[in-house]
Amino acid sequence: MPSSALAVAAGHDVPPLRAEALRKVFGEEDENPVEVVGDISFALAEGEIVSIVGPSGCGKTTLLNLLCGLIPATSGTVHWYGQPAAGTPKAVGYMLQKDLLLPWRTALDNVTLGLEIRGVPDGVRRQRAHVLLDQLGLHGFADHYPATLSGGMRQRVALARTLAHDPHVLLLDEPFAALDFQTKLLIESDTARLVRKERRAMLLITHDIEEAVSMSDRVLVLSHRPTQVKSVYTIELEGDRMDMMAARHDPRFGDYVAAIWGDLEIRPQ
């Protein structure tokens, strides 16, 4: 993979993703420009899971789009493996709350989409997709169309598609928000397992504080607009960090959740 080559060239201490003084102002030429992201800096280390939580409408999704190169920053830079980003990075996996599965493709063909675009041979990409679908508990559903799958299964297919081209960094924007609680815990655990075992780095944007605490090594709390990093929590929990139920048994879990909740300054609407 080109990303691992990059990683080796850059040395292991270079973070896969680093944002430096990132700012985004919408409608700069207008009378009332809106500053959404105001001066954000952070780094994502190799094999690290970092969550970003913040009050509703604080610009989390804008931040993600800046990191992916989908929209240009007003100022500041995004570095991938120490290199300033130009356009959409190659080794990134991107996943949203909407599964965005293509309805005319079967589960398998949805998973292989990215590999197809990269020109990976048919046999190789089918095999890769089968392995991922099996790992995510979708054995036997490869030939199903999305319309015939449940919400949880569809999101698993989306996760498989995100992982198919072996990205070193995952950027996830509330990917589990639309799922019921049980399904959510299971998919969170599967995601943590697949990410931690392969030493991928993951940035998770969420409004679910429990999800952030149970999944992450670090939680960044953002302020209201123009959003900035307000506080950073390093999460230390006992036991298997790939089991979201186990994480909730640690007594410190509740403390982290309460502290972050206090930081968010959720005001009654």
């Binding site: 992916c68 989908l70 990134v92 991107y94 909407k98 293509l102 005319w104 169309y145 999305p146 319309a147």
Partner: protein, 258 residues
């Protein structure tokens, strides 16, 4: 639940047949008892008689075939040209904006106003009727396919970009297939428009076809024969839209959720 729905479908069918039969019976009664002029309004039995006569002399099949051929050719040509243009406008926002007033202008022309020119350019045979059918279809096909292409979810496009897709990948793997729904919806509409275009062409100048039969019988005041040709036209329209529906189902298997 399923049985209940089946019973409802059966009831609807019975009501439809009953309504048609009642209408025909009232029409027949009114004209045979001279409450309505049979000369001006025809009668179901006379229409049936003409249908049998046209079947026997072969003109029913021949005229339906001619009009059907014109319609199908115009439908295909108009949809291919319209869809290709409509989808390719997605590729260039600039070109789309340049073309917009021309498309609106072309779309606002009543097709019938073009018939004399089409006859002059393409003669009185098949080609002019196909041209009329094509013109009736092409702008609708263009607008529906362009709309379909522009309605593609921006998040979906972003996802494709993060997967490394170039514009041509986004076009072939996302825009074209996701526009199919709108394009097929357009097919159902344009098959009727193509038939109208073909019939208008035949009205202007022709030697054969259902439009020719209607026009000729009308000029001679043979009202039941006008209705007989009209029945054949309706049958043709129903058969063509049925076929389009079938093709749509065949080409979009993911839409049939078991």
């Amino acid at each position: 639940m399923r049985r209940y729905r089946l019973r409802e479908t059966a009831l609807i069918l019975v009501c439809q047949i009953g309504l048609l039969a009642g209408l025909l019976a009232a029409w027949e009664y009114a004209t045979s008892s001279s409450k309505l002029s049979a000369f001006l309004f025809g009668s179901p039995s006379a229409i049936f008689g003409f249908l049998v006569q046209m079947w026997n002399d072969g003109s029913l099949i021949h005229d339906t075939y001619v009009t059907g051929l014109e319609t199908v050719l115009g439908f295909l040509l108009g949809n291919v040209i319209g869809t290709v243009l409509g989808l390719s406008l997605w590729y260039s926002r600039f070109l789309a904006r340049v073309m917009q007033p021309f498309i609106i202008a072309l779309g606002s022309i009543p097709i019938i106003a073009l018939a004399p020119i089409m006859i002059i350019w393409f003669g009185t045979d098949l080609a002019s009727k196909v041209a009329m059918a094509t013109l009736s279809v092409v702008v609708v096909a263009l607008v529906t396919s362009y709309k379909g292409a522009m309605n593609v979810d921006q998040d979906q496009i972003n996802l494709m970009r993060t997967l490394g897709a170039a514009k041509r990948h986004i076009f072939t793997k996302l825009v074209v297939p996701s526009s199919l729904g709108d394009i097929f919806a357009g097919f159902k509409l344009t098959v009727g428009f193509a038939l109208i275009g073909a019939i208008i062409g035949e009205f202007m100048s022709s030697k054969e076809g259902l439009g020719h039969a209607i026009f000729k019988a009308g000029s001679l005041y043979v009202i039941p024969k006008v209705f007989a040709a009209l029945v054949a036209t309706i049958a043709l329209a129903l058969v063509l839209s049925f076929i389009v529906g079938r093709i749509e189902r065949l080409l979009t298997p993911w839409r049939q959720v078991p």
